[in-house]
C-alpha cells in the first residue's frame, strides 16, 4: 500500500478533485434536462396527465379544473379490498381539509368494474367527494396503472408530489400529505 509517497498521494488527490470540479462545472444542468413540469407523466415531479370524465350526475369534470388546489387522484374499483378500506379515511381527511382547498377525485376504473357497483359502494359509505367514471380505461392507461388502488398527490401547480401504489393508505398519511400540499395553496 506504500506504492506512492505521501507527497505523490496528495498531488494525485488534488488532480482527482480538480477533474471532479471541472466535470461538475461542465455537466451543470443549464439546458433544463429535468423535464419534470413540462411533460405529463404519472411520476413525482411531472405534470399530472389531464383527463375529463363524467361524474355520477353525468357532468364532465376535468383535472385541470382544479389547478390552484391541492388534489388527490385515487384510482379504484369497488371489488378491490384495499380501495374499500381506505375510502373512509379519504372521506374523513376530505371533510377536514376541503374548506382549505383540498380536493379528492376518486376515479373508478369502470372498464374493470361496473358503474352500478361503484355507485352502490359510494352510497354505502356516504362518500361526498366526486366519483368519476373511467369507462374506457383511458385514465388507467395515462397513469400507467398497475395495481389497485393507485393514488397521486398533486400540488396547486399541477405537479405530482407523491405516488402511492397499493393500499390501504393510513389516515395519518392522507392528513400529512394534505397538509403538505395545502402549504402550496394560496
Amino acid at each position: 500500500m506504500q506504492a506512492y509517497s505521501s507527497r505523490q498521494r496528495i498531488i494525485l488527490s488534488v488532480v482527482i478533485l480538480l477533474i471532479g470540479a471541472a466535470w461538475t462545472w461542465g455537466s451543470r444542468d443549464t439546458t433544463g434536462s429535468n423535464t419534470g413540469g413540462e411533460i405529463p407523466a404519472p411520476q413525482v415531479g411531472f405534470l399530472a396527465p389531464d383527463f375529463t370524465l363524467q361524474n355520477e350526475a353525468g357532468e364532465f369534470v376535468s383535472l385541470s379544473d382544479f389547478r390552484g388546489k391541492a388534489v388527490l387522484v385515487n384510482l379504484w374499483a369497488s371489488w378491490c379490498t384495499p380501495c374499500q378500506r381506505e375510502m373512509p379515511a379519504m372521506q374523513s381527511v376530505y371533510d377536514q381539509y376541503k374548506e382549505q382547498g383540498f380536493v379528492v377525485l376518486a376515479v373508478n376504473i369502470t372498464s374493470q368494474d361496473s358503474r352500478a357497483n361503484a355507485i352502490a359502494f359510494a352510497e354505502s359509505l356516504n362518500l361526498t367527494f366526486p366519483i368519476l367514471f373511467d369507462v374506457n380505461g383511458e385514465v388507467a392507461l395515462a397513469y400507467q396503472m398497475r395495481a389497485f388502488p393507485s393514488s397521486y398527490f398533486i400540488g396547486s401547480d399541477g405537479i405530482i408530489q407523491e405516488v402511492v401504489i397499493g393500499g390501504p393508505m393510513a389516515e395519518a398519511l392522507l392528513q400529512v400529505r394534505a397538509e403538505q400540499l395545502l402549504e402550496g395553496v394560496e
Partner: protein, 244 residues
C-alpha cells in the same frame, strides 16, 4: 419498469423486494467474511439487524415529530405499514446513532466493523439502482443515444443501469478477499466511500431529476465532491498516520 409484481390477488412492491434481497445477500457475504476483520459474524448480524429496526423506528418517529396532530388524531397509523410514512433522513440518523451505541457497548472496533460491513453497502449500491429501475425513480436526462430508454414521456439515459454497473464494478474492487492483509483498519471503508462518491460525481451528470441549486449546479455532485475530498484526506491519513 416493473413497480408491482402481481401474484394472484397480492400486489408485491418490486422495489421493496429488490432492497430486501440486497440486504439479505449483502449481509450473508459480510457474515461469511467477517472473520477476515476479526469481527464475530453473530455480532455483525445483530448490529445490522438492530440498525435496521432502529432505522425503521427512527424513520417513523421522525414523521411523527414533524406531524404530531396526524398521529394524535389517528393513533393506529403509528404502526401503519405505509412506507410513505417513513422519513429516510430521520431513519438514517437514528440508525447511525444506534450503530454507534451498539459497537461501543459490545466493544467492537469501529473501523474494522465498517470494513466488515462493506459487502452490505456495496451490494446495496447495486440493489438501490435496480429498485429505482423497477419504480422509475432516479431517471435519466433526455438523450438521442441508441441505448436510451423510453421513460416518462421521453427517450432517456438509463441512469439506473449506469449506477448499477458502477455498483458492480465497486463491489468487485472492494470484495473482501481482494484486499491486502496488512491494510490499516478503515482503509477499505474509505476506499469504498471514495469510489462511491466518484461514481455519483460522474453519473449524476446523466440524471434527469437532479436538484439544481444555483446556475445549473447539481446538488448531488457538490455533496459527492465534498465527500470525495474528505475521504481522500482520510485515506491519506490512514496510510500515513502522524506520529505522536
Amino acid at each position: 419498469m416493473l413497480p408491482i409484481i402481481q401474484i394472484g390477488g397480492a400486489a408485491i412492491q418490486t422495489p421493496g423486494l429488490i432492497l430486501l434481497a440486497g440486504i439479505w445477500i449483502g449481509l450473508s457475504v459480510a457474515e461469511k467474511y467477517a472473520k477476515l476483520y476479526k469481527i464475530k459474524a453473530d455480532l455483525l448480524y445483530n448490529l445490522s439487524f438492530s440498525d435496521l429496526v432502529a432505522g425503521i423506528l427512527g424513520a417513523r418517529l421522525s414523521v411523527m415529530v414533524r406531524f404530531p396532530s396526524a398521529f394524535i388524531d389517528n393513533p393506529s397509523s403509528i404502526i401503519s405499514l405505509n412506507p410513505s410514512l417513513l422519513d429516510p433522513v430521520g431513519g438514517i440518523a437514528i440508525a447511525l446513532a444506534a450503530g454507534l451505541v451498539y459497537t461501543q457497548r459490545k466493544k467492537m472496533n469501529l473501523l474494522k466493523t465498517l470494513d466488515a460491513l462493506i459487502p452490505v453497502l456495496a451490494v446495496m449500491g447495486i440493489a438501490i439502482p435496480l429498485a429505482n429501475l423497477a419504480s422509475g425513480n432516479a431517471f435519466g436526462a433526455p438523450t438521442n443515444l441508441p441505448w436510451g430508454i423510453e421513460l416518462w414521456g421521453a427517450e432517456r439515459h438509463p441512469s439506473q443501469i449506469y449506477q448499477a454497473l458502477a455498483g458492480i464494478a465497486i463491489l468487485w474492487l472492494v470484495w473482501p478477499t481482494r484486499q491486502g492483509k496488512k491494510n490499516p483498519a478503515g482503509l477499505l471503508f474509505t476506499n469504498y466511500i471514495i469510489l462511491t462518491a466518484g461514481a455519483i460525481l460522474l453519473l449524476a451528470a446523466f440524471r434527469g431529476d437532479s436538484v439544481v441549486i444555483w446556475n445549473g449546479w447539481r446538488s448531488e455532485q457538490i455533496v459527492a465532491w465534498l465527500i470525495l475530498a474528505f475521504s481522500l484526506w482520510g485515506y491519506s491519513a490512514l496510510l500515513h498516520p502522524k506520529k505522536s
